[in-house]
Symmetry: C2
Subunit: 547 residues, 2 copies
């Protein structure tokens, strides 16, 4: 892993503003949380994806990699000869990984085991990636997000990609996918894996294609298989496999507005047409299952025929492939391999929910993992937003993980700033869905932040927000002075008049007079009003303090 271009100074470390790292002790495992300490003495512990990088006490050494924590955990004996979370769950065994996930989610380990056993949830955790902190993907749990990183033929260095991984997890990415297609694919992935606190996914066909000089027709099952084994050995936790792109589906895309937009899908389509043979990913799928089972690598069955435009949404090609993914799901699970299903793409709002219902029906409720979908095509440079609209809706309907989209989608490769905007935008989509699904603990954070806002605790409001740095920066733009951070007014209205302050006064008045429900109001208003008027109507006199 020697590469002088990657040093510890290239990654971002230290706690997020207003937070500090804490660890819960769970059966001897240290489960991280991000503790937000509030100025009123309370605190809120948040789900933490950022690994040791945000621990003020951690020593980060990229060359050495993160500690191989999971190697110290007791691995259960194989279940029917298979050592995967799925096999163990089916055998009734609760693994350390399941207990770890349960603690993060605030549910019982048995709920985790049940969902994994049913195939409704996956814990992507390659035995060879002991540095990762286990997490669970399934509709009964918090909605997760994935950030794509990776270099291309055009741009980027290994150091940049490692920093993008650290940076993405800092802001809340639950997974990252390394989609490198340029040079040094193996080396880039090695640096990322050894230093990643989250599961890492790949699309092995990209590296296989590099090995044959970029010519899809030159691909063979053997080259692909060896690439998959190479990546399994390195510790990749899940792999996108476009095994549902069958020969007979390819011409179904011919009359589309945007044909095949998935890279993996188009590679396989080109191969199938060229050889007039069925995809080797499909014909060798059972062999692939045997390989993935050995490492407990999770399938992410790719949607190679996903729609790339509003016009192509929910068409014959897309749903034909989904049916095949359902068939492959059953094959994979029969080999004890965990499976999730990838979804679109570009879909108008009124066609989104059908995608989830059909996926659940055809794929036995395997976790759905979607890219957006973008709710319109007309906003390049804002596709993080067009897709967050679709992502929120599809997550509310039951999608378990969302693949982020950055502002550079369709236009260029994301830089570090784009990665952050993409991650924050997708945290918004995921959290909005958690609220809509009434996840038991989701609203805690909204309530804490809104309470801080109402009480003019500006610093607490920043600390509780998804991006404290930008929130503070925007506040500084209008109200730069430090006393403004404790001022009892906000920048929208200025010091003379503030609706938040007035309504705080209303509350005080109502509570003082027992006017806290409709009946009391009817009864008490007349009586209390004279008293109140006598007191000089102080409800609305300014009580502003700027210091």
């Amino acid at each position: 892993m020697r590469d002088t271009s990657v040093t510890t100074s290239t990654v971002t470390t230290g706690p997020i503003e207003g937070s500090s790292k804490r660890y819960l002790d769970v059966d001897g495992m240290r489960v991280p949380v991000r503790r937000v300490q509030l100025s009123n003495g309370e605190h809120l512990d948040l789900y933490d994806t950022s690994g040791p990088y945000t621990d003020a006490d951690a020593h980060i050494d990229l060359e050495a990699g993160l500690p191989k924590t999971r190697d110290g955990w007791t691995k259960p004996p194989a279940a029917d000869g298979i050592s995967t979370q799925l096999a163990w769950a089916r055998a009734g065994i609760v693994t350390p990984e399941m207990r770890y996930c349960a603690a993060r989610e605030g549910v019982s380990p048995e709920v985790v085991r049940e969902e994994v056993a049913a195939g409704r949830a996956v814990i992507p955790a390659n035995h060879k990636h002991p540095e990762s902190e286990p997490m669970i993907i399934g509709k009964r749990f918090l909605v997760k997000i994935n950030a794509n990183i990776g270099n291309s033929a055009v741009t980027s260095s290994i150091a940049e990609e490692v920093e993008k991984m650290v940076w993405a997890t800092r802001w809340g990415a639950d997974n990252i996918m390394d989609l490198s297609t340029g040079k040094d694919i193996h080396q880039t992935r090695e640096w990322i894996l050894r230093n990643s606190p989250v599961p890492v996914g790949t699309v092995p066909i990209y590296q296989a294609l590099e090995k044959v000089g970029g010519d899809p027709t030159a691909l063979t099952w053997e080259i692909y298989r060896d690439t998959v084994i190479e990546q399994c050995e390195q510790g990749v936790d899940y792999m996108t496999v476009h095994a549902g792109v069958l020969l007979r589906y390819v011409p179904l895309t011919a009359r589309r507005v945007t044909g095949i937009v998935s890279r993996g899908g188009s590679i396989m389509a080109a191969w199938c047409l060229a050889h007039h043979r069925e995809s080797f990913l499909y014909t060798h799928f059972e062999e692939l299952c045997e390989i993935l089972a050995r490492y407990d690598v999770t399938f992410s069955l790719g949607d190679g025929l996903r729609p790339g435009s509003i016009a192509d949404a929910n068409d014959e090609a897309q749903f034909a492939e989904l049916r095949t993914l359902g068939e492959l799901t059953r094959v994979a699970k029969s080999h004890g391999v965990q499976v999730m299903i990838e979804g679109p793409g570009h879909v108008p709002m009124h066609k989104i929910v059908e995608n989830v219902r059909l996926e659940e029906e055809l794929c036995e409720e395997a976790p759905f993992y979607t890219l957006g979908p973008l709710a319109t095509d007309i906003a390049p440079a804002y596709d993080h937003i067009t897709s967050a609209i679709g992502a929120s809706i599809i997550a509310q309907a039951g999608t378990a993980m969302l693949c982020y989209v950055t502002p550079k989608e369709h236009l260029g490769l994301p830089n570090r700033d784009d990665v952050k905007v993409g991650v924050i935008t997708y945290k918004i989509a995921a959290h909005s869905a958690d609220l809509a699904k009434q996840h038991p603990r989701a609203q805690e954070r909204d309530d804490a932040l809104s309470k801080a806002r109402f009480e003019f605790r500006w610093r607490d409001q920043f600390a509780l927000s998804l991006d404290p740095d930008t929130a503070r920066e925007y506040h500084d733009e209008t109200m730069p002075a430090e006393p403004a951070k404790t001022a009892h007014f906000c920048s929208m209205c200025g010091p003379k008049f503030c609706s938040m302050r007035i309504s705080a006064d209303v509350r005080e008045y109502a509570e003082r007079n027992g006017l806290t429900d409709a009946a009391a109001i009817e009864a008490g208003m007349a009586e209390k009003s004279a008293e109140f008027a006598g007191a000089g109507g102080q409800v609305y006199l300014p009580v502003v303090s700027t210091s």
Copy 2:
């Protein structure tokens, strides 16, 4: 209107990149469109909100104001003594404004008249604002967006606010609201009105409050009434009136997490409690109707008790006020005054649709005009996004106009960049809803853009996008060279491999061989494959040109 700080050089003029102004002749009226000329000889005409500022041939003189176009149109005689679009529509009269709106929407004038007559749509068009280009707000039409501008006690100048108005309409704002609260309120509004090509809304209570030195208890009906008349005379097209904040509702907010967050709502709550009297907006509502009817100013009945946090969504206070707004809707309509209803605020996704259903039921389907709603509280600095999620969903359910939210919401006053981001984000929300509602012409633009994308017509893709400048800028970042704008590959994958190119080749292959539906595929694949293989499998050979 003399003010040396405001000169023509302070506003942005000239066409949007890739577009030019055209006018449709509609019964002698000139209805503007933005024509996007494509490199393949086709063109697409888009709805255009930007007024003469984007007309390369227009002479802009801010001191003189825009031409008073509507003064030249024939005004129908009063219907039952009332000269409002509502009264005329009910009397079966199709006004020039209705014909103008019909042309913009691509529907028949009779549809416009029917919707206005039923109170399901409004055309905010004060007789004293002849500079405005009429537009219609109603659920059967394109979803509209409003941009708030206005100075405050803390910041901003008249010149900045005029430019914000021009800038907001350039990017697609259908309306603007001047929410100024600082000094020079009258003067600021005068500059905006005389130069605004779109309807202008206000919240008169803000100016009334300035007149009494900022003390809500000192407000009187007379001061308020005179302020309303002053604004009607100036040409304000619609006014937010928080007449539904009744005395008995105020204590219902006492136990909320965030109390009353509407400025107008909290002003009236403070007044009601102080005097222990019913709101003068409510008790004098019929007088208010008589004033507004004279000018054809539209009511925007304000939601003074809207929820300011997820915790407070859809609560008793909010819906109690909505019931009163329904009652006031009927009163206003009986006076021939057009009405729309304002809505929240902060609402989790699963509680959004109920707001629309209840509004339609209680307010006779008067156009609903909502602020977002924000689908979560935890992302200050990204509330354009949290609210675009809610806005898309509420618009899909039937909301007619969306009030934008900028990234500075809750933190500070928006600058010019924030205004643009807010407008573009809300165009995304509105357009996504138009697609979901299957508005007949909505998908044209998506299809044209996606087709351009698929055919590597980069410049056409930029020109068709909501923000051509930023799309081009992002493309330049990764692929700065001018030849890249005609390159047959995109920056994501580089020149060696591109899924879009491969799938274009697949299409060509399928069409050449007649493999364009499932039956043909079954029949034809075997026969054609040999021929294809014989041709060297050129489907996937690079045909890249960088020049």
